[in-house]
Symmetry: C2
Subunit: 247 residues, 2 copies
């Protein structure tokens, strides 16, 4: 079972204060890039894996999606998600993504923001996503970039001139990483881009987009304190589709 860190009191309190928790999608600087990868949603059935407070579910509904299912392991997050909508087209279910299965071919789009790096058995998850999608259905997701997750002790190194670098080690040694982010001992799974790609291909997906996300030059001009985030990518965004003639 995946670590349920979002139900840790200190973590949840900290997470609730992030711009992406207060402002929703517009508080997430990578959102414009992720949104650009989404298909037309009108009339579509959407599955959101790791839906958190349900911001994306409500947004998808506003775009005309016909049916939206949000899945999350966190009781605290789902409680708030449910409190924020009365729309019968949106439903939420509490489940561990390590095990959750949807009905076969029940969705046109599977979306996931910053959840898969908590998952140990990516192969199993992708097989279940594949089965849940209609042929040609899309999978669009973001994870923390492996450059970000690789280091044993992640952090900037700043030289005497004030220039920041991100020291990388252990990149090729995949597996769990324990970091202190909002709470002590948050467990994330480090895997390379190569591994994400080979797992996707083996599961029967066709790759249509890979983006190593950092703020654009325009975003940095508007938020000069983000400049360092161009030194190394923070997130990895991917889009793919279930191939028509998959196994």
């Amino acid at each position: 079972m995946a670590q349920n860190i979002y139900d840790n009191e200190a973590f949840f309190a900290g997470y609730s204060q992030l711009p992406r928790s207060i402002e929703g999608l517009d508080g997430a600087p990578e959102w414009p890039s992720l949104r650009a990868l989404l298909p037309e949603l009108a009339g579509r059935r959407v599955l959101d894996l790791g839906c958190g407070f349900g911001w994306f579910c409500r947004w998808a509904r506003a775009q005309g999606a016909a049916e939206i299912l949000g899945v999350d392991l966190s009781e605290r997050m789902l409680t708030r998600a449910k409190a924020e909508t009365r729309d019968a087209a949106i439903s939420y279910v509490k489940a561990d993504l390590e095990k959750f299965s949807a009905a076969p071919e029940a969705f046109d789009l599977v979306y996931s923001s910053l959840a898969f790096h908590y998952i140990e058995n990516m192969e199993g998850l992708l097989a279940r996503i594949h089965a849940a999608l209609v042929p040609n259905g899309k999978l669009v997701f973001s994870v923390e970039h492996p450059i970000y997750t690789a280091p044993a002790r992640p952090g900037w190194s700043v030289d005497s001139a004030g220039h920041s670098r991100w020291p990388v080690d252990s990149y090729l040694d995949e597996g769990p990483r324990s970091t202190d982010w909002l709470a002590k001992g948050v467990i994330k799974q480090h895997r390379t881009i190569g591994t994400y790609v080979s797992r996707l291909l083996r599961a029967g997906f066709v790759i249509s987009h890979i983006e190593e996300w950092g703020p654009s030059k325009d975003q940095v001009a508007a938020h000069p304190d983000w400049a360092n985030e161009r030194q190394r990518p923070m997130f990895l965004l991917m889009a793919c589709s279930r191939s028509e003639n998959s196994p």
Copy 2:
């Protein structure tokens, strides 16, 4: 025009001493991984972009390839390549990959080892490779990994306990990097994995493999001095095919 560093006397002298120049393919630690991406070669027509001393061309011929064309910008390398074979099925041409065009649909496989990171106009090169391949033809290539090419001043940082890290900066700022490797001022083009992928997709290729290469644990056991090469990937290996119904 791409910088012709291989015809620089000091660079050429240094390059000629590398294991991969003396022992050929078996002197390149990434070769087993790259070879695993190749299709069956018997009876096939093969184009090697950046063929250097012609090791791959001769190997492809030994696998039964029917016709092999090696292309390189370096006079010195081609002179040696030509001197080492009399096989009429192998030919060499001196050309700048920034401009070289093959006959349309003349090849079943385009191969390139560690050459594309010298190329400025990747989009143009991929369009020409696409045109040179038969439908379903394969492109298999290696480049220096962007983690390796990104830093303004590449090099290991070693802490007091002797642990090595590879500080990354400027990752999202693509473009030329000048490094001192075998000679001063060698110009390489830094681009992200995301950019390689989007250029390939836009050119009409289907991605079939992405590998962030470092030595395997077995290779490190045999060469303990390679251990650091698992801290960050040195090479990026990719395989893709010209899609059947391309533009």
